[in-house]
Structures are given as C-alpha cells and as structure tokens.
C-alpha cells in the first residue's frame, strides 16, 4: 500500500501545478517534439503564463508562429534556442537575423544524442557528423581508424518537458507513432522531467513489455486535452470504382 502512495505523488492536477517550484529565470529546458508533432503544448502554455524569462530551450524545432515553442518566442521569454531546424517559424528567423535571439545549431542526430548521452551519464561523445563544417569550429577533433570525429557534449537540462500518449501513475510512458521523436531522449536528460499525456491509465494497465520509457525518468505527470495541430496536411484522392 505504501508503494502505491509514493507512486501516486507523481500525478498533478494541472500543468501549472506540475511546474510549481521548478521554473526559474535563465534556466535550460529540454523539450520533446518534432515540428508540431508530439509537443508538450500544455506545459508550454503554462510556462508562457508563468512568465519565466531568459530561457535556453533545447528542442529540434521552435514550433510555428503562434503554436508550440513559437508561443514563448512571441512573448520574448526565450534568450537562446538549441535546434536543428527553424525553417517553419518566421518570428524565429526574424528574431535571429535581428540579433534578438541566440541560436546554437545542432545537427538533428547530434542534438538527440546529446540528450541521450546527458541522460545516460556520458559527458561527451565523438561523432563524424559536422566534420569539415562550421559545426566543428572550436571543437576537439580526434582521429579514429583514419577518420576524423568531433567531440560533442552530453546535455543535461534543468527541466525536461515531454508529451506522451499514455502514462500509468508510476510514470511509465507509451508514445504513439511518430509523436515519440525527441520525447524519450529529452525526458532522460532533465534533472526534473514533467510529462503531459492524453490519458493516465491505472497501474497494471500497461503491458510491462511495451513500455517505451520507464517511470524512473519521470517525476511529474498531468493529463489533458491536446489540440495536436497538423503542420502540413497532405492527402491523396480516394480511387473511385
């Protein structure tokens, strides 16, 4: 019985409650999501409402104008982004080109591996991604078996914000389709990880063999309704007989 009581402490009533005491100006936040797919939209809105400033956000993208992390750009709460792709966000590009926003470009796989490594206690790793490009500037280069690799750092964030499909009260997570993306590595690299899900199911309802991320990485959970906006709606015509 005591075990169940401990587990239940991870579940919070709202995004604001779940972030209470975790936010501070100048902090580093790692966010899951790819484009607008699998983004922690409820936690982003709560960070906007909290007004936390001078954020550094590590996230593959920065959402679009008015949705996803784009919301925090519009309110000027973000000082710096660590991202691989910003092409769909006009406000991002405007703030960057005018010098208002710092941007550290990370190749997508390097960003994912920096999060994974950070969460796995690995402070640095060598990769051939970016060798001979501006990404290698100022980084240690080492030759292994005749090929050059550059040193990249594991990334540890003050807070991870993550979107999953289902959670149980112990924090075990299941993701859905390509909404998994950066969420597991982002979850592991935070000193604290807050997760929003579409459904919290009872303990025992998730098959232990199908859990994508074990609850050890998850500290706080909320359930809520998600807009799940589609960025590029592409369809084909039904063939008519």
């Amino acid at each position: 019985m005591r075990v169940v009581g401990v587990l239940m402490k991870k579940v919070y009533g709202s995004a604001a409650d779940a972030l209470d005491g975790l936010l501070f100006d100048g902090m580093l936040i790692a966010s899951g999501g790819f484009g607008l797919c699998g983004i922690p939209e409820l936690l982003i809105a709560a960070i906007r409402d909290a007004g936390t400033k001078n954020l550094t956000v590590a996230s593959n993208n920065a959402g679009v104008d008015g949705f996803g992390l784009g919301v925090l750009l519009e309110t000027r709460q973000v000082k710096k982004m660590i991202s691989s792709y910003v092409g769909e966000n006009a406000e991002f590009m405007r703030q960057y080109l005018s010098g208002e926003l710092e941007l550290e470009f990370n190749p997508q796989g390097t960003l994912a591996e920096r999060m994974r490594a950070g969460g796995a206690g690995i402070p640095g790793f060598y990769t051939k991604t970016g060798v001979g490009t501006v990404i290698a500037d100022g980084k240690d280069v080492k030759t292994f078996d005749g090929q050059d690799y550059i040193l990249e750092r594991g990334l540890v964030a003050d807070l991870s914000i993550v979107k999953a499909w289902k959670a149980d009260p112990s924090g075990n997570l299941v993701f859905r389709k390509t909404a998994r993306n950066f969420n597991p590595p982002a979850a592991t690299c935070g000193k604290v990880c807050v997760v929003e899900v579409e459904e919290i199911v009872p303990l025992g309802a998730l098959d232990p063999d199908t859990i994508h991320l074990p609850g050890i990485y998850v500290h706080r959970i909320i359930q809520g309704d998600h807009e799940k906006r589609i960025e590029q709606r592409t369809v084909r015509k039904r063939e008519t007989a």
Binding site: S84, Y85, W165, N181, T234
Partner: protein, 209 residues
C-alpha cells in the same frame, strides 16, 4: 528540353536497389517514392522516427501523430516500425541506411554539399542532413543545375556553409547525371534533349573523362 521535377525524381528512383533502406529528403527527393521501379522493394526511413513510410493518407484519415520529416501527414505499412530520434540517428550514423537522396543549394566537384543556410538571408537549419551525409552508404543529390539567374550551382568549390565535406557520390540535375570522381565530375548521362556541350556550359565544376 530538360528534365522537370518529376523526371528528375524518376531518374533518381533508378538509383534504388532491391532490399535497401533509404532516406529521402524534402522537396524533389520526396517525389522519388512515386517512381520506385517494379520489382524493387525499398524501405523508406523518416528521420523523425519511422521505418516503412507509406503514402499520404486518404482525405479524412490524417493523423497528427503520423508525419514524415517534412512534417507532412503520411501512413504506415505492415512492416512499419516507430522509434525515438536518438535511435533514428543511431541507425543513420551507424551506416545502416544504404542511401540518402537529398536536395542541394550548391554542390562542388570534390563532393562538398551545401544545403542548409544562406548567411544573413535564409536560416533554415541542417535538420538531419549533416548526420545523413556523414553516416549513410551513398549520397545522391537532386537539384536544379543552375540558379534562377542562370549561374551554375555545380561548382569548383561551394560558397555557402557546408553540410558535409566530400560526401556526395552522384548528382542528378535537370540537365543530367554526374558522378564525383578523382579530379572532378564525370558525366554519366545527359537529360532528354540536352547535349554534352550544354551540360558542360552550365557546369562550373571541372569535368573529367
């Protein structure tokens, strides 16, 4: 005459070999999936975390949780597998993907590729392109041979920030196909109605052989 976007994609599809795992970039490379030759089975990887990418959904079947790396709604296939971004780039960096077909802003005769930014003007980001060109078995670039102003984009040396150094194996443009070989580029074939002289005239890079 020269190849249009679809003809370039169809030519690029001839590069596919049976059983390969392949990553297709955004733009013309995405169209390659429409021209996979009969009898060739390839598994398409989408670097946001999917192997076995299917076609666009029928209207009304779009799923916001199921997109490709271009953020387009897609579908799954019976062999589809989903995974996270770290796993996705482990298979890319680890050399498990046989070939990537990518777009380009500039390509150089030594195989240098530039396709992620124009300083001071256009900032898109490299996305997964730097990882792909560093990790996959073979890199094929599909691009227009010249800019809107008629300047060659097939160069002696790239002027834009690089995506990868000496990474391109084959270049497919609206004017033809060229391979990166020691000393420069070798003409493999010319597009329909394009002469070798036309191709040479539109190419700044050194052509050998």
């Amino acid at each position: 005459m020269m190849w249009d976007r679809n003809q370039m994609a169809a030519r690029a599809a001839q590069e596919l070999q049976d059983g390969w795992y392949v990553n297709l970039g955004i733009g013309i490379p995405t169209l390659v999936s429409n021209y996979i030759p009969a009898g060739i089975e390839v598994t398409l990887q989408s670097e946001n975390g999917m192997l076995g990418m299917g076609p666009f959904p029928y209207e009304g079947d779009e799923d916001p949780d199921l997109i490709n790396a271009g953020k387009q709604t897609i579908t799954e296939l019976p062999q589809t597998a989903f995974f996270d971004s770290a796993q996705s780039f482990a298979m890319i960096r680890g050399g498990k993907i046989a070939m990537a077909i990518l777009g380009a802003m500039e390509v150089a005769e030594n195989g240098d590729l530039a396709n992620w930014m124009i300083p001071g003007k256009l900032v898109k980001g490299m996305g997964g392109a730097m990882d792909l060109v560093a990790g996959v078995g073979r890199v094929v670039v599909v691009m227009d041979h010249t800019s809107k102003h008629g300047e060659s984009k097939v160069l002696r040396a790239c002027t834009l920030p690089l995506t990868g150094k000496a990474v391109v194996d084959r270049i497919i443009t609206n004017l033809g196909v060229l391979d990166v070989v020691p000393g420069g580029l070798r003409i493999v074939e010319c597009a329909d109605g394009v002469s070798e002289a036309d191709l040479r005239a539109a190419t700044e890079a050194t052509i050998v052989g």
